[in-house]
């Protein structure tokens, strides 16, 4: 069984929900990123999702775009990201996911990427522009040691959700609203969609993400899923402060507390 699924299950078994926190690799500061990542874990994150910066992140809103651009400017690439993961692994065994767009991975070499992911201690992979239909050609057989986390969205029909659940491992990433990361939660979340998530996804755990920025937002989705993913609000907070990023860490703790039964 996958490390990620185990971790979420252990949390759920206690009656709690899981918290996955997104950070852009090497952001905001190249030098103390490892420390930041460990502090995020200590503040309450159960899973860390590290974003590999890309010049053209079409699934992301302005906040994560900005962090990607800054990271690229600081020379962050896939190799640097693997080094961070290796460093973090020395101090923490909690699940680490990589989130990245297809092209930098294609340029790095898919097989090489899979191997280096595994050896540096990555547990799973999210590539938003490789939908399930394209996975076979892209991943080939190189990723047997990693969880491939697929996404569903409110536009995904039920029979397709079933198919995605079947093909996904670790958990299914449930996009909350039709939109990009950092989207405002003013748009009401479709309750039928949330019910579909709860009733249709049986093989995998379910984490809901996109637009969740507060314990109050989390409350709206918690009855229907196994945990949440929070990204943009963390990046936004990091953009505003300096090390040791106390406000951001407090926010992580607040979010985690709201997930505890």
């Amino acid at each position: 069984m996958s490390v990620i699924k185990n971790q979420i299950k252990a949390i759920n078994d206690k009656g709690d929900k899981a918290l996955s926190i997104f950070l852009t690799s090497g952001f905001p500061n190249k030098k103390n990123f490892t420390e930041l990542a460990l502090n995020i874990f200590n503040a309450g994150a159960d899973i860390l999702e590290i974003g590999i910066p890309f010049s053209d992140p079409i699934a992301d809103g302005s906040v994560i775009q900005k962090s990607s651009q800054l990271a690229l400017k600081n020379g962050i690439n896939i190799s640097a990201t693997f080094e961070y993961v290796q460093e973090i692994r020395k101090f923490s065994a909690k699940p680490i996911l990589l989130m990245g767009y297809a092209n930098p991975i294609l340029a790095y070499g898919i097989e090489r990427f899979a191997k280096d992911s595994y050896y540096s201690g990555v547990n799973g992979l999210i590539i938003p522009d490789i939908p399930v239909n394209e996975q076979k050609v892209f991943y080939k057989n190189h990723f047997n040691n990693l969880d491939i986390i697929s996404l569903i969205a409110p536009t995904t029909p039920v029979n397709r959700i079933e198919m995605i659940d079947e093909k996904s491992s670790g958990f299914v990433y449930c996009v909350s609203i039709n939109g990009i990361t950092g989207i405002n939660f003013d748009k009401e979340i479709n309750e039928n969609y949330l019910k579909t998530i709860k009733n249709t996804i049986t093989k995998n755990k379910t984490l809901v993400g996109f637009g969740i920025s507060s314990p109050n937002d989390a409350k709206k989705v918690l009855p229907y899923c196994d945990g949440i993913i929070v990204g943009s609000v963390i990046i936004k907070s990091l953009l505003k402060e300096k090390p040791p990023y106390q406000k951001t860490l407090n926010l992580v703790s607040e979010l985690k507390n709201s997930l505890i039964n």
Partner: protein, 396 residues
């Protein structure tokens, strides 16, 4: 010579290129679009409406003009020009805009978005949105808004909202990124009119089909005038829609097809946008295709004097046609394109768009190798009014 060409396959691939590399939110809408479009392709009332608009609104068929002075100048084969510059709004872009607005209307979408670089596609979309009374948003990089002021004004006069894009390099690729983000966020009521044979399936196929009217007409016209197919067809390639448009109906024939890319200031990284000449296999804007990128797979700014060719990607079908050697691709520099624009203006009384001038420039290379009985057709994809700011240095 090819006997049988049938691409894309059912998954939307041209060999290994193409596909649907987009976030999950867009998958079902793309499948829906594909289903709709497949039905419309054989729907008589749709095809009649399309033909009527092409004839009465856009001014088709466009003429095939014998370039007598150009032919004399090169002392080789006979040169004909396919006059897409005479289409309503001044370029072939309207062919696709008309086709897609009819699809959008039948799908019940009331909000249209599009990306534009030079503004020609933006103007074409703004035009059809005015005609069909649909809400129109055009995404355009901040840099291009500054460079292409007359087209920004045209779009506004036509009632479109022009959104200045300030992310990334602030040019065409980022305008397309923003359009995709908008589409993801407004999927229920919005249709995205992509401007070239790029993006996720079914766009490369659908845009090709609407642009194929260029080649279909050309084939009829040249066979009527000369009693045979041409020997060579030349077109410029940015995303590649005018080129596919004229090539596609000849693809199974014994005709030499030549695509001309922009070599900009030369073939150094970031100094050009010769994607097929210098790019590598990549995944970008929803498609797998050749892509200009750095060693880390990041897409950086590209360059051409012609804003319409200034794109780091290229249509996936071109990538396939290149690998299979069905079409040959070359590139010419800014300087060669400018010289060609000057020459065509004086020789034939036709001021070409800077994009089309790249195809004309290639005549210098190919014409000395032609025989008198050969026929060469050049796709004159647009007119040069929009480029006068750049051209003025050629004669003052």
């Amino acid at each position: 010579m090819l006997k049988y060409y049938k691409f894309p396959d059912v998954k939307g691939y041209f060999g290994k290129y193409g596909g649907k590399f987009v976030p999950e939110t867009l998958i079902s809408p793309l499948m829906e679009l594909e289903e709709y479009y497949k039905k419309l392709k054989t729907n008589i009332s749709f095809l009649k409406e399309l033909e009527k608009l092409n004839t009465e609104y856009s001014g088709r068929p466009t003429p095939l003009t014998f370039a007598s002075n150009l032919t004399k100048h090169y002392k080789g084969g006979k040169i004909y020009l396919k006059r897409e510059d005479l289409c309503h709004t001044g370029a072939h872009k309207i062919n696709n805009a008309i086709g897609q607005i009819l699809v959008a209307k039948r799908m019940g979408k009331d909000r249209i978005i599009a990306e534009t670089g030079a503004g020609q596609h933006g103007v074409a979309v703004a035009t059809v949105c005015a005609k069909f009374r649909l809400h129109c948003l055009i995404f355009m990089g901040e840099e291009d808004v500054k460079r292409q002021r007359p087209n920004v004004l045209r779009m506004k006069m036509l009632g479109a909202e022009v959104i200045e894009v300030t992310s990334g390099t602030k040019t065409l690729k980022d305008a397309a990124n923003e359009a995709i983000r908008d589409w993801v966020s407004n999927i229920e009521n919005t249709h995205y009119i992509i401007g070239s044979v790029v993006g996720p399936h079914p766009y490369p196929m659908m845009v090709r089909d609407f642009q194929s009217i260029i080649g279909i007409e050309t084939k009829k016209q040249i066979n009527k005038t000369e009693g045979k197919n041409p020997d060579k067809i030349i077109a410029c390639v940015g995303g590649g829609s005018n080129a596919i448009g004229i090539f596609y109906p000849f693809i199974e024939d014994d005709v030499e097809l030549i695509g001309v890319e922009a070599a900009g200031k030369g073939l150094e990284f970031k100094e050009n946008c010769a994607t097929l000449t210098l790019g590598k296999d990549g995944i970008f804007h929803g498609m797998r295709s050749y892509l200009l990128q750095n060693e880390f797979g990041q897409v950086e700014e590209v360059y051409s004097i012609s804003a319409g060719l200034d794109y780091p990607g290229v249509g996936p079908e071109h990538s396939y046609l290149k690998d299979e050697k069905i079409v040959s691709y070359f590139s010419v520099t800014d300087e060669e394109a400018l010289e060609a624009a000057k020459m065509l203006s004086k020789a034939e009384g036709i001021i070409p768009a800077l994009e089309s001038a790249h195809a004309i420039a290639y005549l210098e290379y190919i014409m000395p190798k032609t025989k008198k009985d050969e026929i060469i057709i050049l796709n004159l994809s647009g007119r040069g009014d929009k480029d006068m700011e750049t051209y003025k240095n050629l004669f003052v």
